[in-house]
Each structure stands twice: as structure tokens, then as C-alpha cells.
Amino acid sequence: MYKVKVYVTLRESVLDPQGSAVKSALHSMDYKEVQDVRIGKYMELTIEKSDRDLDVAVREMCEKLLANTVIEDFSYEVQEVVTK
């Protein structure tokens, strides 16, 4: 089994209205050193071992569904989980 952690964020070139609002809130809390906030999504997939190439499969899942690549970037980490 694998645990795959997927991170989806708005692309650098795309203004993030939620992130801007959170940044202003942090500034009003006097954390003026915060330069930028980007809000994204975090997903955990538990995937069984199969004949399919895991990297190819996860990449496809991200491109087709988990992220909208018009406005979002994605990254992921794979962890192998040892089952009893």
C-alpha cells in the first residue's frame, strides 16, 4: 500500500483572493513579516499496489481531476505503507 499526499495550490501567476485576505488578517495581527499567503488543498490517497505505474497514475489523477491545471499547480509525495 502507498499513502500519497497531494498538494494543490493556485499557480504563482494567478492572484489568490483568499490568500490575500488571510495575509491582511495576519498583518492586522501585527505579523507584518508575512509577505505572501497562498491557500491550497491537501489530499491523502491510499493506493493499493498494482501493475500500473504509481507515478504515472497519480500524475494523471492530478491532471484530470484533483487539480485544474488552468489555474492550479500540484505536487505530491509518495510513502510506502507496510501492511501486516
Partner: protein, 227 residues
């Protein structure tokens, strides 16, 4: 002319759309559930607003993989008129039938009120009953209507006159005030404002009716039967 109103779990403007077609426009219309696999009997496809699949992941992201969407793609390829309103527009974007994507409204608020739109292209199958640059009042009701696309796509939209409606006063931060766009061929229209909620003066405006009348008129003209 026979219309299909596609119903997803979470659609909530399907009844308004049905009413607009049946009672105000006077054409045939049926509800079509999202797992349907044949739309061949319909002449026009309507994707209503709402919150399909609870807007989980992203608006329209999951609806785009429902059975009926493959049929909607086929209908679009066959040149049938396909109209997506609000969540319907978001689904068309996710399905790749229209370019670009939606972000949260710039002010992060759900906005629900009538807005003035300009008909910047009246040479489409959806807008031919309007005057060029006519200003019409149509309600919006969305939290994610902040249209975005990259520079190159925007250039293409402009060059092909695919921008059909723009906001007179931008409510949501949409790129170049975009409220509605078509595909390159002009038979798929997506718009955030709700023309089906503006089909009778009792509703505050009847300006949306001409959009549906345009669809029917253009369909009749291309399906002429000898009288």
C-alpha cells in the same frame, strides 16, 4: 425545438430553466438525469445552475465526469446549441468545452443581485435577437464567477469574438469583465448570469428571454421545413 435540462445531484436552477423554456418560450423541454447516456432526441442542451456534487473539490469538477457529459460533448461536436449557466458554465470549463477556469469572487462573497450586461457579440446563435452593445439586466448568483484564462487564450477569445457578454460594472474580478463566452464554433455558450431568471417582467426583467428566442430562431432557420 426540443430542449434537455440536465439535472445533476445538487442542481438547483433546473426548475427555473424548465419553466423558462416551457412556459415563457413555449418550446418542448425535458429533465435529463446525469446518468443518462443518450441525448440524440434533443435539439438543444441546457446545463443549469446550482451546486452539482456540492461543489466538492472544485465547482463542476465532478459533474464533468458524469455519464451524460460524454453525450453533451457529442452534442457540442455535432453543432447543437449547448448553454451552461452559472454552475453549468463551470462544468463546461471543467469539461474543456470552453477555455479558462473560475476562481473565487475577488471580494470572496457570494453575490446575488441583478447586474447590467453588455451584449458585445450579437452575431451568435444565442444573442442574435439582441442589438449590438445592448445593455440588459440579468441576475447573478455565484461565489466563484471570477473568470480567468492565460494571456494567449484571452487573445484567441478576442480575435474570434468569443466574448459574448461583459459586465457593465465588474462584480467578481473577472478578466476583462467577462460574463459569458462561446467556443470557437459558437455553438457552446457559458455565462455566469442567469437568463432563465429574467424571462418575465414579474421577475424584475424579461431581458433573458431574447437569448432563448435567439436559440429557437436560429435552430428553425437551419432546420427549415417546406411549409
Amino acid at each position: 425545438m426540443k430542449f434537455a435540462v440536465i439535472v445533476f445531484p445538487g442542481s438547483n436552477c433546473d426548475i427555473d430553466m424548465y419553466h423558462a423554456i416551457k412556459d415563457e418560450l413555449g418550446e418542448e423541454v425535458e429533465y435529463v438525469w446525469h446518468d443518462e447516456t443518450d441525448l440524440s432526441q434533443f435539439d438543444g442542451i441546457l446545463l443549469p445552475g446550482g451546486f452539482s456534487y456540492g461543489d466538492y473539490l472544485r465547482s463542476g469538477a465532478i459533474a464533468r465526469f458524469s455519464n451524460v457529459m460524454q453525450e453533451v460533448v457529442k452534442a457540442a461536436e455535432a453543432g447543437k446549441p449547448v448553454l451552461g449557466v452559472c454552475n453549468g458554465f463551470q462544468i463546461l470549463l471543467e469539461a474543456g468545452l470552453l477555455p479558462g477556469a473560475m476562481k473565487r469572487n475577488e471580494n470572496l462573497k457570494f453575490m446575488c443581485r441583478p447586474v447590467n450586461l453588455k451584449v458585445v457579440n450579437n452575431q451568435t446563435a444565442f444573442t442574435s435577437a439582441y442589438e449590438k452593445d445592448e445593455v440588459i439586466s440579468i441576475p447573478i448568483a455565484h461565489g466563484e464567477g471570477n473568470y480567468y484564462c492565460d494571456e494567449q487564450t484571452l487573445q484567441t477569445l478576442k480575435e474570434n469574438n468569443q466574448i459574448v457578454f461583459t459586465y457593465e460594472t465588474n462584480p467578481n474580478g473577472s478578466l476583462v469583465d467577462i460574463a459569458g463566452i462561446t467556443n470557437e464554433r459558437g455553438n457552446v455558450l457559458g455565462m455566469m448570469p442567469h437568463p432563465e431568471r429574467a424571462v418575465d417582467e414579474l421577475l424584475g426583467s424579461a431581458d433573458g428571454l431574447k437569448l432563448f428566442q435567439s436559440i429557437v430562431k436560429n435552430w428553425r432557420e437551419s432546420h427549415v421545413t417546406t411549409a
